[in-house]
């Protein structure tokens, strides 16, 4: 089979040359598609230092208004500009986030708030979603008249809401020690409600939300076997659009924890425990992550922020916070995770959950067939130390 590199692929006019069908080519064949029909995933990589670049056809892409070094302390305005640029560059040909989310939609934003400063024994800002990204995303949606109801939803592994724990703080109320510009979810939602009173904003703890036991959609079962079922919060299935927003983080089970592994947070703690050990009984974490994703595939994914986390969250070798200002965004979660993983120094081909996602038809993880815009993967790369327990491509086959 003749291979083409990514640039040749992109220059071929998104021709779909032999990528889908690599067999049975007696002659040189190609289809001339139009730009509007191009289905190549477009993923944005925006470092805080992004000063501009060129698209594959030479079109100039303007940089950030106030570029900063990738390890610089960022203000909200910097991250807001990065998010805006990422949404602009990560827009699919058929339309970006503003066309994905309709004005009447109920939008669930799923950040990673698995841990909580002050409640989790080992805590790092790199283990949770940067709140400034959430604020920026919501402002983008509102300014573009996207969404009629916005629910920020999480089912944490490590903390209970204050009304259940009796403690003074939880993941909704903490200001994270100022790690994210002093924002807290509670204050943020109150502020949104004041600014956009005709829109319903809410926080929802998925650990205690109403849930249903449902079989996994689109999963093929051998004849005579019963479908695998999960408890899933009703809101996940009822909402119109789901945005998954996660930090760059390593994970002992799946290698990296990005927009797909973020779905562990939809599993209700009241059914699976806290931490969610009950999910272990349902299978390998790679399989479980993909199963959970199936219940409502992300309509948009954003990974990154100011902080990430490498190696083991607990145990040896000790993990560490990574200060690396980058946003990766796009409408295809598989492609976003593949690029995020590549930036972290992982080969997407060795990540089992991405292989499974591909097999279930959620997208491609080969970075040679993903159209990155903004910074290159190599420019953005920052090798994260790997968790000791994780093995590349384990359980393959």
């Amino acid at each position: 089979m003749a291979t083409i590199n990514r640039r040749q692929f992109l220059v071929s006019g998104m021709a779909g040359v032999g990528l889908v069908q690599s067999q049975q080519k007696p002659v040189n064949e190609k289809a001339i598609a139009t730009a509007t029909e191009d289905a190549t995933p477009r993923i944005a990589i925006v470092l805080s230092s992004f000063g501009g670049s060129s698209d594959h056809d030479g079109t100039r892409i303007r940089g950030l208004p106030d570029p900063r070094p990738v390890d610089a302390h960022l203000e909200y305005a910097h991250l807001d500009a990065m998010v805006g640029k990422a949404i602009e560059l990560g827009a699919p040909r058929k339309g970006g986030l503003a066309s994905i989310v309709g004005p009447e939609d109920w939008v669930v934003i799923k950040p990673d708030i698995s841990s909580c400063r002050g409640l989790t024994p080992v805590w790092s800002p790199g283990t949770v979603t940067d709140l400034r990204i959430i604020q920026s995303l919501v402002c983008f949606l509102m300014e573009n008249k996207c969404g009629k109801r916005i629910t920020i939803a999480e089912g944490a592994a490590d903390w209970l809401p204050v009304e259940r724990s009796g403690k003074s703080v939880d993941g909704w109320t903490t200001d994270w020690g100022g790690a994210f510009g002093g924002l807290s979810y509670k204050k943020m939602v109150a502020d949104f409600s004041r600014r956009w009173p005709y829109i319903r904003f809410e926080l929802l703890d998925l650990n205690f939300a109403d849930c249903l036991e449902l079989p996994v959609p689109r999963r093929v079962y051998p004849a005579g076997t019963h479908p695998v079922t999960y408890f899933v919060p009703k809101v996940i299935q009822q909402c119109d659009k789901l945005l998954s927003v996660a930090p760059l983080e390593t994970d002992a089970g799946t290698g990296v924890s990005l927009s797909v592994k973020n779905y562990f947070g939809i599993a209700p703690g009241m059914k699976y425990g806290m931490p969610k050990r009950g999910l272990d009984r349902l299978g390998d974490p790679n399989e479980v992550a993909v199963d959970l994703f199936n219940f409502h595939p992300a309509d948009y994914a954003v990974v990154g922020g100011s902080w990430g986390f490498e190696a083991n969250l607990s145990g040896s070798p000790a993990g560490a916070t990574v200060h690396h200002n980058v946003i990766v965004a796009g409408a295809n979660a598989v492609a976003v995770d593949a690029i995020g993983a590549a930036i972290m120094g992982f080969d997407p081909a060795e990540l089992l959950y991405l292989q499974k996602m591909e097999r279930r038809g959620f997208g491609v993880s080969d970075i040679d067939v993903i159209w990155t815009r903004g910074n290159d993967v190599d420019e953005a790369k920052r090798n994260f130390r790997r968790p000791a327990a994780w093995r590349a491509g384990r359980n393959k086959g």
Partner: protein, 537 residues
Amino acid sequence: MNRFTRREFLLTPASAAAIPLLGAAAAKTRVGLVNSSYPKLPRPLSPEDPLNYDSVRDMVWQAIDLGRPRSGSLEAKIRPGAWVVVKPNMVFLRPQPLYRTGDITDMRVTRAVVEYVARNSHAARITIAEGGSYRGVRDPAEDNSVQQNDVRVDGATFDWGDREFPGVGGSLAGMLRDFSKAFPNKKFDYVDLNYDVVRDASGSPLRIQVPRTKSGVGAFGARPDYFVTRTILSCNFLINVPVMKVHRQCGITACFKNYVGTAPRQMYGAPGVFANVELHAQHSIEDRIDSFIADLAAFHPPDFNVVDGIRGLQYDTHSTGQPDQMLRNNLVLAGEDPVATDTVVAQLLGFNPWDIEFLHMTAKRGIGTRDPKQIDVIGADLDRLCRRWVKPQPWWGRCNRDWLISNDAGAPIQTWTRHTAPTDTLNLSSWIGKGSRKTAAAAVRVFAEGHRKAFLWLGLRGRVTTFLNGQKIAEDENLTRYRVGQFRTPVELWPGENLLLFRVHASSGQGLLSALLVGPRNDGDTVEGIRWSTSGK
């Protein structure tokens, strides 16, 4: 002696009255079903075996014989001198990104059908006709075109090589040339339906109203007039040769969905897009395409159908890139009645035929029967060949249409108004407006053959309280976008009669409701063994 074609008959005054009588007196409609291991084939092969042309031809010809029309045989139904059109599904060519093996009709099946007609009938002209999502070689536009060795090709001239359809190589044009040599007294040609629109005397494309049957069934689509093609309208005999697959918007694609390829893309395309985007935009109802595929078929219902079930696609209509998307089944169906044939296809793919909306529409038009009890599947054992193909997401079956409605939920149910919703969605706004409490109630009886576990899928706009057999089972509110199946509640149905009742409170004067009872797999299929009814029977 004047002879009616089946199409002409369907449009006559006599047909409306005669159809019920025929249904009562005539034999069941026949559908021939042959798989590669069918013992009466000359060379039976396992369902997993790759096939060559001879084995495919044997299957096709056997299916044509088993599914023969009431006139005795396919060839007996084709008048001497007739123009026969064979319409395969060739929506994409191999280099197009959404193509994969199993996406289009196997060329060997098409060839076998043409060969059958050429050998056995007295047809004068045999045309292969298709309108795919690629431009013809004479189209000056460059987008959505296909090249081989830097030369523009199209449906007729694309060279498939010898591996895509083992035993048949080359192009359709080459195949037709071979037939011309073998049968010099017949004419063989290819028509690209994309450029074959019917025009008026001035040469302008003409929209034609869907013919209305004498029983009053006209167009189902949002717009009743269509651009159609001269070939489909004018030919004497249409043989529909689709491939069977799942379909994202109407569940299955086989006989009726194949009619999308009869809509000329020169009229229904959009700038830079050579697909029927305007067909969808102008004629869909509630994002369902059933209405326009039923309408397109009304212009010339198929005179015979041969369905390629050798290889098809699950998960979605076109390539998703999943390695297990293509399913090999090595089977062929044939029959005169496209409604019955598609009903059998639905069963083979693991769908509940009740859920396929266009079967209701085309049966209502009198094109055929969708009642499995009235279909005689002859040949292979249908039950053994049915598989559960993975359905597209999202997919939902047919919501209840027949309702009892009142703006006074406390009134005896016998006094409620019977109402049939034309689509999945029941619009209660006018009932809500009549009452002082801004509420309305809708109810329906569900008859279950036994205990049934199911999920009640609701779509709603407003606030709805749901009662099953007098017990409150859910309270849901939706003030955002309406969609079918948004709210799901597990339910258990009693054997016999159950009563579902919904109290609907409007939101901004709007009250919308849809209800579907889905089986335990929660995959959008109506649960087996239930029946909706507004009467107590």
